[in-house]
Each structure stands twice: as structure tokens, then as C-alpha cells.
Symmetry: C2
Subunit: 236 residues, 2 copies
């Protein structure tokens, strides 16, 4: 089942921000120890608390990061191609704080954590990329915390819709990429409340039909949502 990554995957991985500045021979070191694997949907890749043996790179498909406590569970983030996850656990050699499961059929590269750490120590370009990526991750979580603590669930949903619209290229119609129950969990609410929240946004020109979102009035929605780059712009 486990295979060395073929040439075609190399290019995908190499094109990641994390690997653009790495020296060729160091990239080769990482890839020599790496495995690529195809997973079916709904497979638990890692469990929180486990020790961290591999940095994961999602080449295709998508992965849900989630956490549990006392019988409750919450979705923390969705990882889409091409990006990495659990970089922090990798560099700290600490246990995972989140579990991960495939949402759909996914192709994933596993790079041994100790290789990542040793290349970090000898390749300044890679070191800079790791620190930039980590800072990016940190800032994303901080933004998420601000979203959770400063906004009501209706405001979170409104801003989520605006962010997804931006990701979809600004179109007034776009698709939700996963189940509504997962969206509810990500936004910190119950599926029932998400249903009601969709209705609550109708007065601001939002229509939801199945997994299709339609924004009838951009200005009304934005006036209500009050998006802020220091919360909603995930690129900085």
C-alpha cells in the first residue's frame, strides 16, 4: 500500500510555499523518506494525543481536523489541497492536539517528522518557510478565536458566507463544499441552529437551496456581517 511518491507528485509538493525555497538535495532527503498513500473517505488518519511521526501533505481530496472532549466533538478546520497539516506538532515533536479524517477519497503524503526537523536545522530557506507557515497557522487560529468570541452565530455565518464567496471568485452563487452539519460544528453551533440561521439571513439577501448559496444583495449582507480583514482575511 505504501509507496514512494512518483515524479508527478513531486511537482505538486515542490510547488507548496513550504518547499519552494528548499535546496534540491534537502528536498530529495525529505522525499526519500516519504510515503504517498490513497485513502477512502471517512478514514481516521490521526487521533489527538498520538505522537507525531509524520508531517502530512494533502495532494487531493480533503481532510477534516477535529477535536473531542467528554463525548463532544467539534470541527476545527478543513484542509484542502495542496497544503500541510500538523506542522506545529511536527516541529515540537509533541502529541497531536487534533484528530484528522478524510472527508472524501484523498491522496496524502507522509513525511517523517524527524526528517523535517533535521532538514530544518541545515536549510535556512526551508527554516524560513516553516516559520512563515507556522506564523500563518497561528494567525489563522487567532482570527478564528476572534470570530468565535466577538460575534454571534448569525454574524459568524454571514461572514463565513462572504469568505466562501471570495474563495469562489466573488460569484453571487456558489456551493458549500461539505455537509451542513460540519459547517455547523465549525461555526460552533448545532445543525438545528444553522438551519434557523439560514432563515435569519434571508432578510439580508441570502438564499440557500440545498448546498447552493445565493447572495441576492451583496451590500445588505456586508452591512450586516461587517467583515474585517483582521478576522476574515485568511491570506495575511
Amino acid at each position: 500500500m505504501r509507496l514512494r511518491p512518483p515524479e508527478s507528485d513531486f511537482q505538486n509538493i515542490r510547488s507548496l510555499d513550504l518547499f519552494t525555497e528548499i535546496a534540491d538535495q534537502h528536498f530529495d532527503v525529505l522525499m526519500r523518506g516519504a510515503y504517498v498513500q490513497n485513502f477512502p473517505p471517512q478514514i481516521e488518519l490521526i487521533a489527538e494525543g498520538d505522537t507525531c511521526d509524520f508531517l502530512h501533505v494533502v495532494l487531493s481530496g480533503s481532510v477534516d481536523l477535529f477535536s473531542s472532549w467528554n463525548g463532544r466533538e467539534t470541527s476545527m478546520a478543513t484542509v484542502r489541497p495542496v497544503s500541510t497539516f500538523i506542522l506545529a506538532a511536527t516541529v515540537k515533536d509533541a502529541p497531536y492536539l487534533m484528530s484528522a479524517r478524510t472527508l472524501e477519497k484523498s491522496r496524502i503524503v507522509l513525511v517523517p517528522s524527524k526528517d523535517v526537523r533535521s532538514v530544518f536545522d541545515i536549510d535556512p530557506g526551508f527554516a524560513r518557510a516553516v516559520v512563515t507557515e507556522l506564523a500563518q497557522c497561528y494567525r489563522s487560529v487567532v482570527k478564528n478565536t476572534k470570530d468565535l468570541k466577538l460575534r454571534t452565530s448569525l454574524e459568524r455565518l454571514a461572514n463565513y458566507i462572504l469568505r466562501q464567496q471570495r474563495r469562489a471568485g466573488g460569484a453571487t452563487t456558489f456551493e458549500l463544499q461539505f455537509e451542513k452539519r460540519r459547517l455547523a460544528s465549525f461555526l460552533g453551533m448545532t445543525p438545528e441552529n444553522l438551519s434557523r440561521a439560514f432563515k435569519g439571513l434571508q432578510p439580508y439577501g441570502v438564499r440557500v437551496e440545498g448546498s447552493q448559496f445565493v447572495i441576492l444583495s451583496q451590500s445588505d449582507l456586508e452591512r450586516f456581517a461587517k467583515p474585517n480583514p483582521l478576522i476574515d482575511d485568511y491570506s495575511t
Copy 2:
């Protein structure tokens, strides 16, 4: 007002995890560009959205990191000596996501961000320390998010009390280091609800008198709080 750090401060800064592995001459570079300053209480040091010119190091006193949106405000973290803040904005050269204000009279070192970035590129020991520190920060925020999303406010308070107890060396009696209103904000609740939550923990053996916390029954409190290292252990 602005002064180069005197020798006595050097030792404090040098002893930070961030600077133990840095080469002497690189540490000197950072300190040559640095300023040390004493601030009175309640001074806003940085405002979210500002560009990041300095890495901040708290030598004494304490600093509150907080964020605002749409007229609301929430406390994100408290920084105590000796540690740094806004490392992520520094390495990314991106705008601050949080504002910072002194809680009490505080002594703070300001290290120019560009010096931090340039030393990062030439000093592998420092680079490793930066990435470790950032990973630590990231993991702390993830834990905080899990706390917020998986627990009720009463459970958050119970676990907060247990964490503070640990910080205080495990004693059954210890002091809250700041105002209750700030604790309420940090825990994501109103001051009124915090008051009621204190009462709600009385059946589990928690007594609050002024800023004094007394744990009458460790086991009852722990049975209710269900602390978990993947949320409550800030050292890993």
C-alpha cells in the same frame, strides 16, 4: 525616555528560551537596536491593524492582549514576565491581530522586527528557538479554541481554576492575578455570568472570597471539570 537596555536586563532577556541558543554576536546585534522602556498601567502599547515594527519582551509587570470588533472587545491572553509577544506578526511582517495594553507598571523591551528577521536568517539556533516558540503559541491558541468550543462556561471556569492552582504550585488557596471582569472576558462570558458561575461551582467545593480562590474538594472539582492535557496543559 527610550534607553538601550542596561546590563541587568540583558541577563533576563538572554535567559528566555527564545535566546538561549543564539550566538553571542547575534544577540548583541538584537540588543544594539533594542530599546527598553517603563510604562505606567493601562497604556495601549500596540493597536490591532498597526504594522509590526518591534518584537516586545515583557521584563516585569503584565500585558493584556485583546481584540475588538463592532464595538465589542475580548481579552485574548495575558503576557507575564519574562516572555515575548507578537512574534508571529514580527516574522510575517504583517499587521497585528491583537492590541496590547499594560495591566500594571511594566518594563518592556522593544526589538526592531527587521533585526529579528535578519538574525533569524543567519543563526540556526535562534531560528530553531523561534519556530519552537511559534509552535508553542499556535498550540496554545488551538487549546484555547477547544476550550471555547467543547466546554460550557461553567466547565471553562472550573478548568481555569485548576490550571491556576497548578501554576500556583498546587496550593488549595491562591490569588486571582487580575480583575474578575478580565477573567470573564478571557473565558468568553460577561462579568455577571462569572459571578453566577462562581456560585455554580460551590457544590463542587470551590469558594471565592474577593480575589482569593479556595478549593475545598480537589476531587469533586476535578470530577466536574474533567481536565485534559490536550486542552489544559499549556507546557506541551
